[in-house]
């Protein structure tokens, strides 16, 4: 059984006061996410990522198509007890303390009464907020709120976790902590569906990614496959500016920085470049094949389609 099956799910709105015109937020989307996968849902702002998540959470109603999570309809309360959701820039009841908020969510998620207090404390420790005791959420920083958001999403031990821009607004340390948390969830065998436009996070965490643009799915693929392709080009890094003219004469793109030089060249020129470096007694640092990055894939998928070009 797949964790998430989306079949032709679409959403359009009618905007305007007198003459209402339809605006397509999501074109018919077909997508399958397997159990245990970390799936990255990529796209620029306004691509339709949050719309998809809202549809899956039952916060808005689809204009067409359907979706199933863990084999159940998206409005099935039994399914909702098995999923967790972190909205983008979450806002919580700021008159509550973090333990009160988590206890409330645990009640709504059906966590047994005798387990709630222990579960809440464990979650607060897991997200790095063990001592927030009586502090109301209105006094929390953005990073602390994001951690509370993650805690509420995984509090009830869900099988599938949906995270909308989980790194949004976090400092580098915070991002790293969230990334570690997500890796921990992956090790526990949970399915993670997360939207982001931070490609380095997606590349580090995801098994597969989908790219969405202007409400349309532009591509889906395994991160390992997408980044395995090489371009028959090599990056050479060395110390010593004396060799620079000789290497440049071979047709390599050279980028000197201080005493170091980075050159990108065709694979067949590697021997000639290495000879030039030896002749000028330059100190070789590295020779690395140039691979496709997720960013390359992302940019390629965001390029205008022939239909868009024709318009």
């Amino acid at each position: 059984m797949s964790a998430i099956e989306i079949s032709g799910l679409s959403k359009s709105y009618r905007i305007g006061f007198w003459r209402k015109r339809p605006v397509v937020a999501l074109k018919p989307l077909h997508l399958v996410v397997e159990e245990g996968e970390v799936f990255g849902y990529l796209g620029p702002n306004g691509a339709g990522k949050t719309t998809t998540l809202k549809l899956l959470m039952g916060l808005i109603f689809p204009s067409g198509g359907s979706a199933r999570i863990l084999g159940m309809e998206i409005d099935d309360p039994r399914m909702k007890a098995m999923i967790g959701f972190l909205p983008e820039q979450p806002y919580f009841y700021d008159y509550l303390t973090a333990p009160e908020l988590l206890e409330y969510y645990a009640q709504l998620s059906g966590v047994p009464a005798h387990e709630r207090r222990r579960r809440v404390q464990t979650m607060l420790e897991r997200v790095g907020l063990p001592d927030v005791g009586r502090l109301q959420l209105r006094k929390f920083s953005k990073g602390m709120l994001q951690r509370v958001g993650i805690a509420q999403a995984i509090l009830h031990d869900p099988k599938v976790v949906f995270l909308d821009e989980p790194m949004s607004g976090l400092d580098p340390m915070g991002r790293r902590e969230v990334r570690d948390l997500m890796l921990g969830l992956k090790q526990e065998g949970k399915t993670i569906f997360f939207s982001t436009h931070i490609l380095s996070d997606a590349e580090a965490l995801c098994d597969r990614v989908a790219v969405l643009h202007k409400g349309e799915l532009r591509g889906v693929g395994a991160v390992a496959d997408l980044t395995a392709a090489t371009h028959a080009r090599v990056e050479v890094l060395w110390h010593g500016l004396e060799a620079l003219p000789a290497v440049a004469a071979l047709g390599a793109e050279c980028h000197p920085t201080g005493e170091s030089v980075r050159a990108v060249l065709a694979e067949e020129q590697v021997d000639a470049v290495l000879d030039a470096l030896r002749r000028h007694t330059a100190r070789l640092v590295s020779v690395t094949p140039v691979r496709t990055t997720l960013e390359d894939y992302f940019v390629e998928k965001l390029a205008p389609t022939p239909a868009e070009m024709a318009r």
């Binding site: 959470m57 109603f61 909702k80 959701f85 969510y105 709504l108 958001g149 509420q152």
Partner: protein
């Protein structure tokens, strides 16, 4: 009642009791009840009537203010602040959320009324030095005030399900004012002819009849309240509130949370 509704109701109650505005309103109402003592002292011979009239009217008006002030934000504030997202992504049905919110605010108002009623009876005790048998009817008047709060809360919730807090406040307040004159509206409808009569009668019976829930003046004069009126008002208010809450559920069930 499902446990989830009870949890949502408790959280709504908790939100209200942690709101400073609520305490300001209660304090203001109690001050007004206290002020009725002063006004009563300069009203020779009708001291008790003045205290009851002013005291119960203060409880009623401030309770309605609380019901509208909190009620209009019950749903719209949750949508605007997106706090609803982490609620509805759990095994909570939309109708459970609405009913829980309504229950929480109704409970808040009952507790508030209890506090304000204690202040009112303390003022009455201070003024008269004791209670008489006819003071039992004051409890019926307070019960009717609570019924009034329940209807106002349901209306505020209904408007909150589809419009902004400001519009919800305007609609609820307008219905409260019109409903206060419901008996006059019915009398006016009876005097009209033709299509106007149908229209006026329809409007007169559609707006909540808050006039029937106001027995402050008669109990202030020591008059009793008929048992039939207690029964009629109870059934009417609960049905009216249930209809308004059902309307809120129907609207909210189809609403996209943008």
């Amino acid at each position: 009642m499902s446990a989830r509704i009870a949890h949502i109701a408790f959280n709504t109650f908790r939100e209200a009791v942690r709101d400073r505005v609520l305490y300001n309103l209660i304090l203001f109402a109690l001050l007004l009840v206290g002020a009725s003592l002063l006004v009563g002292q300069i009203s020779i011979g009708i001291e008790r009537i003045v205290i009851i009239n002013l005291g119960l009217t203060a409880i009623s008006l401030f309770g309605v203010a609380i019901a509208i002030f909190i009620g209009i934000g019950l749903v719209s504030k949750e949508i605007e602040k997106k706090t609803l997202y982490t609620i509805l992504s759990r095994p909570v049905r939309r109708w459970e959320f609405i009913v829980g919110k309504f229950g929480g605010l109704a409970w808040t108002l009952i507790v508030n009324t209890l506090l304000m009623a204690i202040g009112f009876f303390a003022a009455l005790l201070y003024s008269a030095g004791g209670f008489s048998g006819s003071d039992l009817w004051l409890l019926v008047a307070i019960y009717f005030i609570v019924l009034q709060f329940i209807v106002v809360t349901a209306l505020a919730l209904l408007f909150s399900a589809f419009s902004s807090p400001t519009l919800s406040a305007v609609f609820t307040l307008a219905l409260f004012v019109i409903g206060t004159f419901a008996e006059d509206l019915r009398a006016f409808a009876a005097m009209t002819q033709g299509a106007t009569r149908w229209l006026a009668t329809g409007v007169a019976y559609l707006v909540p009849n808050f006039a029937a829930l106001n027995v402050i003046s008669s109990v202030a004069h020591g008059q009793s309240v008929a048992g039939a009126l207690v029964f009629y008002n109870t059934v009417y208010s609960l049905f009216y509130a249930a209809a308004a809450v059902s309307g809120a559920v129907l609207i909210f069930d189809r609403r996209n949370l943008k």
